[in-house]
Amino acid sequence: MTAVATRPVTRRGVSSRAQRREAIALVVPAMAPIIVFSVIPLMAGVYLGFTDATLRRNDVADFIGLDNFIRLMGDRFFWESFRIGLVWAVACSVLTLLCAMGLALLLNTDLRLKSLTRVLALIPWAMPPVVVAIMWRMIYSPTAGPLNAALEWVGVAPVNWLGDFSTALPAVIVVAVWSGMPQTTVLLLAGMQQVPAEQLEAAAVDGASAARRFWHVTLPALRPVVLASTALDFIWSFNSFGLVYVMTEGGPGGRTMLPMLFTYLEAFKNRNIGYASAMGDVLVIAVLLVLSIYLIQQFRKGKAEG
């Protein structure tokens, strides 16, 4: 080895190999937990979708190929909940974006007590989903809730928000938007502060109104932030569980049965882990599909403009 190492060419080879080894040594400790705790369980979960695993004692899971997926194709309850999940996820991410944009613009102006209002806007973020859900269930309560009391006071008939078939889904979407808003607001606010002040000033000098300044200067600068936060919101709401589980448990009459709730029922109430994993696989594919369409479009647009 020493004999070979004297030649300058190989020396470089040895040193770069050593560097590579060093790099591996540094990366392995960081990678291992990810592989052990995320990648392997994820793979195991995906694989379970192809087995007939149950939660029986000493259960042996047999590989059954695509049987679960074929059965899933004909499961109209699942597809109904899938449809509700899409309505829910799209509504949540779009409304969250609109509300958060408004709030961020407001917080970005030179208001008095700016720091205080910014902290206040973060409060929903600090609350665990279960607490949010219990609080809103009280607000929505048909008999003792403050919302109905206020409605009655202005002379409107009380509404059974979470119990009525037409209002249940909108009511839980409002709560999801309320609790998801701070996160998006913070992201947008940070993005707005990156917008060059000179550009805005220049636009103002050129006589652009506030709306035009927002549309032509602020919004284009924010596009990456908007894209990222909406994409994340979509994934989170499509996969959300706790909020709706506590508020309605999928009721009334299955109107708020999100796909995650449905999968949970299949996995833990019916103890068919294999079938439920197949549902999970389908949901992951669906999210990836929707996102890839969105991302590809954005890239194309970016290229065309650039």
Partner: protein, 437 residues
């Protein structure tokens, strides 16, 4: 050389990390039922872990008292009480069983513990139960804790659905309080109509999760829904099955004597309106007798009406609270010995009194009747205990699935007047075909 060293150390560190993580996962699993060293002499002390769900202050006290008595009398079998609650207990148990950390003695209820028995997690207690207790409990109740011809739990206390009435409102409406052994649905309907006035409903009924109630009260009309057991089951939704939902629908939308908002609430959410005199009657689990006694406003004049009787009988579903033994416990026999003690007449009566439930054994029911002779509601509650029978759904494998994904949504739609009873019948039947594939 040095660099290889770094790599080796890093690998070792990672491996150690992963191993510790694994070990932490299993460390909690291994120690239930461990034997500790005996205090005097070489005798070994058996330690049993007992997960109790009784979360009302009085019931907690009663359970703790029984455990303390046992521990004092049996130094060689020590029971450790682990307090859990009813909320989310299904999720907890399924995690405990699958993770191998379930306690030795498990408290739950017949309808919900059955799936665990089907999946093989519970010990067969058929030959371990004290014969005296076995003959003291009716056949119908034993049936409710029998899975695959094995008795998998000690049944202890039961609840039934009872009508609670605000006596002042009934009298103001000129209604005579029914006093027979049972009351028909028509009587209930008449009283509800008579007590309905402007701004006041005759009946409030918390039916946000209606399936259990309909399954139970349907038995009075011979509405058992299922035929067969295991996975070989057919559903039959006919006149008997639809009688209870239809009666409620009629009272809500034809008579307007039942508060429609209450149909979307839980039982406890309906109580404030009843206390406030906004509804004259409410249907609740019999266990409310205990809390109404303490929660009702001063001077609230209430009574429990006789058990509801359908066209066939006053039967309701027996769904007793149960105490089962983990099949993986190292001390199944000792656990059964403790449960024999736990279900003795005196202890069962104390437990049932604390929770305001009907004891499963006849002797405990008699003892309790004597003890509560002059307390409101108890006579009616104990009387309803005679007509509790094992419902057909207990032995149906896909019942929970059908209940959560088919029946509950369909009943909710029917109660909200979104679908008619023909559609309800179709939904329940088609849904069963979907889930029982």
């Amino acid at each position: 050389m040095k660099k290889r060293h770094v790599l080796a150390v890093a690998m070792a560190a990672t491996a150690a990390l992963a191993l510790t993580a694994c070990q932490q996962g299993s460390a909690t699993g291994g120690d239930d039922g461990d034997t500790g060293g005996g205090e005097g002499g070489g005798e070994e002390v058996v330690n049993l872990e007992f997960q109790s769900l009784s979360d009302q202050p009085l019931a907690m006290e009663a359970v703790q008292g029984i455990v303390d008595d046992w521990n004092a009398e049996n130094p060689n079998i020590q029971v450790e009480l682990v307090q859990a609650g009813w909320d989310g207990i299904y999720d907890k148990l399924i995690t405990q069983f699958n993770g191998g950390t379930a306690p030795d003695i498990i408290h739950y209820e017949a309808a919900s513990i059955a799936p665990f028995a089907v999946d093989g997690y519970l010990a067969d207690l058929t030959d371990l139960i004290d014969p005296a207790f076995a003959s003291d409990v009716t056949e119908g109740i034993w049936e409710s804790v029998t899975v695959n011809e094995e008795i998998i739990a000690y049944p202890t206390t039961l609840q039934s659905y009872m009508v609670f009435a605000n006596v002042d409102l009934l009298e103001a409406a000129g209604v005579e309080i029914p006093s027979g052994p049972t009351m028909t649905w028509d009587e209930l309907r008449e009283i509800a109509q008579a007590t309905t006035t402007d701004g006041q409903f005759g009946l409030g009924w918390g039916l946000s999760n209606p399936t259990a109630t309909f399954m139970s009260l349907g038995l009075g009309f011979d509405g058992g829904y299922f035929e067969g057991s295991g996975s070989d089951v057919t559903i039959d939704v006919g006149e008997g099955e639809l009688a209870v939902p239809e009666a409620i629908h009629q009272m809500t939308y034809e008579d307007a004597s039942l508060d429609p908002v209450s149909l979307t609430q839980s039982g406890s959410e309906v109580l404030p309106a009843w206390y406030a005199g906004q509804t004259a009657m409410t249907v609740q689990g019999s266990f409310r007798v205990a809390s109404i006694g303490t929660d009702a406003p001063e001077g609230f004049n209430w009574a429990v009406l006789p058990p509801l009787e359908g066209s066939v009988s006053a039967d309701q579903a027996a769904n007793p609270q149960t105490y089962s033994v983990n099949i993986d416990s190292e001390h199944v026999e000792e656990s059964a010995q403790f449960l024999d003690f736990f279900t003795s007449t005196e202890n069962l009566a104390a437990l049932a009194y604390a929770d305001a439930l009907v004891p499963a054994s006849t002797s405990a029911r008699d003892a309790l009747a004597e003890q509560t002779a002059d307390e409101t509601g108890w006579a009616e509650v104990l009387a309803s205990g005679d007509s509790l029978v094992a419902p057909p759904f207990l032995t149906v494998d896909a019942y929970t699935q059908w209940k959560d994904t088919v029946a509950t949504p369909a009943f909710q739609r029917f109660l909200a007047d979104e679908i008619d009873s023909a559609q309800l019948q179709a939904d329940l039947t088609d849904g069963w075909e979907q889930v029982n594939r």
